[in-house]
Amino acid sequence: MNFRIPLFAALVALAPGLASAKNVRLLNVSYDPTREFYVEFNKAFATHWKAKTGDTVTVQQSHGGSSKQARSVIDGLGADVVTLALSADIDAIAERTGRIPADWQTRLPAASTPYTSTIVFLVRKGNPLGIKDWDDLVKPGVSVITANPKTSGAARWSYLAAWAYAKHRYGSDDAARDFVTTLYKRVPVLDSGARGSTITFTQRGIGDVFLSWENEAFLALKERGEGEFEIVVPSLSVLAQPPVALVEANAKRKGNLEVAQAYLDYLYSPDGQRLAARHYYRPQHPEHADAADAARFPELERVTVDEEFGGWANAQATHFADGGVFDQIYGGK
C-alpha cells in the first residue's frame, strides 16, 4: 500500500520525459538468411535515428521461409516493413491485403532491392568430385541438395539459374527442361526451406553439392570453419533480387510511417551498404563497401528473371504453380 503513492508520483514525473523522447517499435518481417545482417543493421539504424531525432527505436525481427513470412503478414502480422526473398511474395501481400501499394517496387531505388545475391555451389572440402559448373551436377552419382522450389525462395532462384544455364548452353526450352529434370533426379531430400537444406548438407552430411544463396554459403564457411566446405562459382547464375517494402497501412496505423520509411532508406545509405557487403550481400553501391568485403564477391554472369523468364509472375505461373513444370518433373499432374 505504501509504495503505490511514490510510484505514481514517479510515473507522473517521468511522463513528460517519455513524451519528448519516444520509444518506437518497428517490426521487420524477413526471410531466413538475413538474420545476422539485420541484427547488425538494426543497431546501426537505432544509433543513427537516436542521433537524428532523439527517439529510441527497437526493431523486432521475424525470420522464416519467405512465403511463410508473407502469409503471416497476409493473415495479420503487423509488419512495418517486409524484407523478403522474392518480389512475388511482396506482390502477394499487396494483392491480397492492399496494405502495400501495388506500385511498391518503384518506390525505392533499384527496383526496391538495396542489395542483391546469387546462387552458388557449396561442395565438400577438396571438391572430391571436381564440380566446376552446372553440367557436373547432372552426372550420374552426384547428389545435389536443394529445397522445394514451391516453398523456398532460394530453391526457386536455384531452379531458375539451372534453367537459364541450360537454355544458354543448349539453346532451347526443351533442352533446359530435360536438364532440370535430370538435375532433380539427383536430389535425395527436398526440405521446405533454405535453412533446412543447409542443415541437411552441412550437419547430416547428405549430398555432394548444395545449391545455396551466396551469402548463406559464405556464412556456412564462416561458421563451420573453412576446412569443411568450399564454394564453387558456376559460369552463369541468376541475379537474385531480394526486395524490401514498406507495409504502409500497418506503419500508418502504428504511427511509424516516417521511421519505417527512414529504416528502408537507410539500407541504401553508405552505412547500410557497407553492412550488407560485410554480411555477404552484394550492395547496389559497391563503392561504400569495405575493400576486403567487396573483394570476396567473385565475378560471374548473372541473368535476370525479367530477361530470361519475362518477370516473376510469368516464371511463377509456368514453373511453380500447381501442375506447372516443376510438378510435371515429379510426375504429378
Binding site: P188, V189, D322, Y330, G332, K333
Partner: protein, 282 residues
C-alpha cells in the same frame, strides 16, 4: 455394463443433465466444430470439379497412400509392442519399473519437432544408427529420408496410446481368471487367446484408433525425417502446408476436408468395431 444403454431412457437420478449436456455441446461446438466448419466453408470457394481435381491429383493421391498406409502400419506396430509393454508393466515387478512407466509418456510431452530432429540425426546416413544400418546388405538399409523413416517417426509418437489404454484394463483383470482357466485345463496360449485378449480387445482398439489418428495428423516430426520427395515421401499434411505457402488457401482446405472425411470414416469404422467387440465380449 448391460444397463449402460437404457440409462438415458429411464428417469435420471443425478440432476443437472440438461445443463451439463448444454455445456458439453457448446464446448464441443466451439473447440471442434467451429474450426472444422470454417475449413469446410473455405474449401467451398472451389467448384466441385476444381475440388475434385485438387484432392485427386496423382501427387496428392500418392501422399494419401503414404500418410494412411504408414500410419496404419505404425499403429499396428504399436498395438503389438504396446500390449507387450503394458503386460510387462502391469504383471511384473522389476527394478526401474516406475522409471520405464514414466518414460512411456515422453512422446506425449516432447515437442514433435524435437523428436523429428533427434530421429533424423540418429538415422541419417552419418548418424549413430544410420551409419551401421547403411552397411547391412548390398544396398544398405536406409531409414532417414525414406518411407521407413516416416514409419519410425509415427511409431515413436504413437507409442503411449496403446500402452496407456490397455494398462488400466489389464490392472483390473484379475489373475484369478487365468488361474481358473489353467485349472480347467487350458494351455497358456489358450488362456491368452480366449481369456486375456478378449477382455483387452476394446481397449486395444481404442489405443489403435488413437495412435492411428495421431499418426495421420502428425506433421512436426515427420517433415524432418521424410525427405519430402514428391510422389515418394511426401505426407498429406506437408502438401497442405505447401499449398498454404503458395497462397492456395482453397486448395489447402480442400485437402484438409478430404483428410477429415477419410479420418472420420476410419474412426467411425473403428468405433463400430469396438461396439461389436464389446457385444462379443458380453
Amino acid at each position: 455394463m448391460s444397463t449402460a444403454a437404457p440409462v438415458i431412457a429411464t428417469r435420471r437420478i443425478i440432476p443437472g443433465f440438461g445443463l451439463t449436456l448444454g455445456f458439453a455441446l457448446a464446448y464441443l461446438g466451439l473447440v471442434v466444430l467451429l474450426p472444422l466448419s470454417a475449413t469446410f466453408i473455405r474449401s467451398a470457394d472451389l467448384s466441385a470439379a476444381e475440388w475434385w481435381a485438387a484432392v485427386s491429383s496423382p501427387r496428392v493421391v500418392a501422399s494419401y497412400r503414404l500418410t494412411f498406409g504408414v500410419s496404419l502400419l505404425a499403429a499396428l506396430a504399436n498395438v503389438v509392442f504396446g500390449v507387450i509393454a503394458a503386460w510387462v508393466l502391469v504383471r511384473y515387478r522389476f527394478p526401474g519399473r516406475r522409471l520405464v512407466d514414466a518414460l512411456v509418456d515422453l512422446p506425449f510431452a516432447l515437442p514433435t519437432a524435437v523428436a523429428g530432429i533427434a530421429l533424423t540425426a540418429l538415422y541419417a546416413p552419418n548418424g549413430w544408427l544410420g551409419a551401421p544400418l547403411a552397411k547391412i546388405g548390398p544396398e544398405g538399409i536406409k531409414v532417414a529420408y525414406t518411407a521407413l523413416g516416416v514409419w519410425v517417426a509415427l511409431t515413436f509418437i504413437g507409442l503411449p496410446f496403446v500402452i496407456r489404454t490397455v494398462q488400466p484394463v489389464l490392472e483390473e483383470l484379475e489373475p484369478e481368471l487365468e488361474e481358473a482357466a489353467a485349472s480347467l485345463g487350458a494351455t497358456r496360449l489358450q488362456t491368452l487367446w480366449r481369456v486375456v485378449l478378449p477382455a483387452l480387445r476394446p481397449s486395444i482398439l481404442t489405443g489403435f484408433a488413437l495412435a492411428f489418428a495421431r499418426a495421420v495428423g502428425e506433421y512436426g516430426s515427420v517433415v524432418f525425417i521424410a525427405g519430402n520427395m514428391p510422389m515418394k515421401t511426401e505426407i498429406t499434411p506437408l502438401l497442405i502446408v505447401t499449398k498454404l505457402e503458395q497462397y492456395d488457401y482453397a486448395g489447402a482446405t480442400a485437402l484438409a476436408v478430404a483428410m477429415l472425411v477419410v479420418s472420420f470414416a476410419l474412426l467411425l469404422l473403428i468405433n463400430v468395431l469396438q461396439l461389436w467387440s464389446r457385444r462379443q465380449g458380453q
